[in-house]
């Protein structure tokens, strides 16, 4: 599905954050040795949602291209809400890394598309993209330790 409006992209990002939070909660339940980190990730997601919403509600005006800012293909960025059944810890970490890469791509693409129109929104998207990249690195470290 293609999203063009700011409202739909902001809602989509909220959904991605909720899905990713659900994913890490399941990870915490299934793999107790990484539970602390996974739960921290899950909690952080709601912070990102607030940051993005705050940026959007703060800058949206009738004078910018709010309905014509984006061209987001949602299929590129969606992922499973929980680790696949029967997956070992290593494979689950790999799934998490793939998910984070999709989120980095989403936020980077959305920031680029809205750069000319939305002031604080692309900056916030890029902050979240950076945080996601950090997460990916942490997950990579965990993977190496297994």
């Amino acid at each position: 599905m293609q999203l063009n409006t700011s409202a739909s992209v902001i809602s989509f990002s909220k959904q991605l954050e909720a899905d990713s939070a659900a994913f890490y909660q399941k990870m915490a339940e299934k793999y107790p040795k990484g539970a602390e980190l996974f739960l921290a990730f899950s909690r952080e997601n709601s912070k990102y949602t607030v940051m993005i919403q705050r940026a959007y509600y703060g800058v949206i005006t009738d004078a910018i291209e709010g309905c014509f800012a984006f061209s987001v293909e949602t299929d590129k960025y969606t992922f499973e809400r929980e680790p696949a059944k029967g997956l070992g810890y290593t494979d689950a970490l790999n799934q998490a890394i793939d998910m984070e890469q999709k989120l980095v791509s989403f936020y980077t693409d959305a920031a680029e598309q809205s750069e000319a129109f939305m002031a604080d929104v692309p900056r916030t998207f890029l902050i979240v993209a950076r945080k996601r990249k950090d997460r990916k690195d942490k997950l990579g470290t965990l993977l190496k330790e297994t």
């Binding site: 063009n4 409202a7 739909s8 949206i60 005006t61 004078a63 014509f68």
Partner: protein, 497 residues
């Protein structure tokens, strides 16, 4: 993606807000209809002369105490209102979509713009400071004190039911005046919601009044001896032939903002990638129902390759606009406000064709509504080529989702086309040349000038300008000019022998 929940359920009985109370009306009752689905969402009174008189009387009675309330204390009421508006941001936005039809992004944008005016008015302790000169003659000092005047009338239009009355209201009350707002009877719910929050914010009774209605209310406002001034936003015929002369006749100060027929000048060196989305918002945002909307583009130069590429880009993008219920977050353009307005837009399109314009995207039929809604108020984007400056679709305001394309050879011709038009509300240029942009902004006779901006909407701390047939008055709404409008300059010359 789901459709957002409607905040208005059932049928709301709209009342007047007078002297801090919600009061019924003895006038006739009209339906307020959601243009998306034709459902009645509210009943609004067309108030009587006695009811507007009662509101003015309440304002007049509240004025002496409100005027004496220190500006910082008046600002605190506005700060509380601002907090309440923020807390109810989403509901207020969805109400606009329900009563007007605009998309949720547009409604949220309108809410933000409205709140910004409250924020700016919160600075009243400094905004309202006067100035002085010591020793204008030996031992004599002179100073200016901006003083409030009394009761003001604010008459709102249908296209921005939340924001436009807030171009005036916060400044008027911050300066120590009392107000009576008459919202458009087509879209009264946003001002009702704001008045509920005004009540909660603790404004004294009588400072902020809302009276719903039509001509009776407007006529009485214009004639009322206790109304000091009027701000009006609406059509040019009403601004020019009714509001402005009647305020003159009764000695009222006036801001009368009228219609527009705005030009977007396209230079061949513009960034196509940035220009096309800006034009989509300018021409088709709010379904074209705004006085800052582009009505015609003027493509400059004889580069046929650029022209063809530009037209193709615009048509291809406009054709893909998703049309439907504004509460569906994917929708990019909602309906026009009602069937009558649609009929008027259709008649302008027919007139354009009759006068020789060629239709290259036909919004009369070439569109699809997302969702199961009647097409009563819907139109697609219409684009017409071979438009000439003397056509009715250029010299009159269409107020709908249409774009005419005019070709000229030089920037001089483009500026002349802008300047020969009777309206001078907002014109913009799209270019990558600073020199061209400067030339345009310097010479074009327009109240609001855009450079690579499709909607030239001044922020709350700048005046909302306009010239010629787009504006009647001297001072404008918003910011410092609004403060000047809502205060008299009292000059004191002082000597102590």
């Amino acid at each position: 993606m789901a459709i957002l929940e409607e905040p208005i359920k059932g049928i709301v009985e709209v009342k007047n807000y007078i002297d801090g109370e919600w009061v019924g009306s003895k006038g006739e009752i009209q339906d307020v209809v959601n243009p998306v689905n034709g459902k009645v969402i509210a009943k609004v009174p067309i108030s009587t002369k006695e009811e507007i008189d009662a509101a003015v009387e309440a304002g007049k009675a509240a004025f002496p105490d409100w005027r004496r309330t220190p500006p910082a204390a008046r600002a605190r009421c506005l700060f509380r209102l601002k907090e309440l508006l923020e807390a109810n941001f989403e509901e207020l936005s969805r109400v606009q979509t329900q009563e007007h039809g605009k998309t949720i992004d547009e409604s949220r944008g309108e809410t933000r713009r409205g709140i910004e005016n409250v924020e700016v008015a919160c600075g009243i302790p400094t905004l309202m400071q006067g100035y002085n000169s010591e020793d204008i003659a030996s031992g004599i000092d002179e100073y200016l004190i901006p003083t409030p005047l009394g009761v003001f009338g604010i008459i709102g239009p249908f296209n921005f039911p939340f924001m436009i009355p807030l171009w005036s209201a916060p400044y008027a009350v911050a300066a120590g005046n009392c107000i009576v707002i008459k919202p458009s009877s087509e879209v009264p719910l946003s001002q009702m919601k704001i008045a509920e929050l005004v009540d909660e914010a603790g404004f004294p009774p009588g400072v902020w009044n809302v009276v719903n209605g039509g001509r009776t209310v407007v006529n009485r406002m214009l004639d009322h001896p206790d109304i000091e001034g009027i701000t009006f936003v609406g059509s040019t015929p009403t601004a020019k032939n009714v509001i402005y002369p009647r305020c003159g006749a009764t000695g009222k100060r006036v801001i009368a903002q009228g219609g527009a027929s705005n030009f977007m000048v396209i230079m061949p060196d513009c960034s196509m990638r940035a220009t096309i989305p800006a034009l989509m918002t300018s021409f088709f945002g709010n379904a074209g129902q705004r006085c800052l909307a582009g009505q015609n583009v003027i493509v400059v130069g004889d580069d046929d390759h650029f022209y063809k590429e530009f037209v193709k880009g615009v048509v291809d993008t406009a054709r893909k606009i998703i049309i439907g219920n504004g509460l569906d977050e994917e929708v990019q353009m909602g309906p026009v406000r009602d069937a009558e307005k649609k009929k008027k837009i259709l008649s302008y399109i027919s007139s354009g064709i009759k006068e020789g314009a060629k239709i290259i995207l036909d919004g009369r039929s070439d569109f699809r509504i997302k969702g199961d809604y009647p097409d009563t108020c819907f139109l697609g984007a219409t684009i017409m080529e071979y438009v000439r400056p003397e056509m009715k679709i250029v010299t009159e305001e269409i107020f709908g989702p249409t774009m005419g394309i005019i070709r000229v050879k030089t920037l001089d011709e483009a500026i002349k086309t802008c300047d020969d038009n009777p309206f001078h509300n907002a014109d913009a240029i799209f270019t990558s040349s600073g020199r061209t942009a400067r030339e345009f902004k310097y010479r074009v006779k327009s109240g609001n000038v855009g450079i690579n901006i499709g909607i030239v909407a001044p922020m709350a701390f700048f005046p909302f300008s306009g010239m010629r047939d787009s504006f009647f008055g001297i001072l404008h709404t918003q910011g410092k000019e609004a403060i000047r409008f809502f205060t008299e300059s009292k000059v004191v010359i002082e000597r102590w022998p």
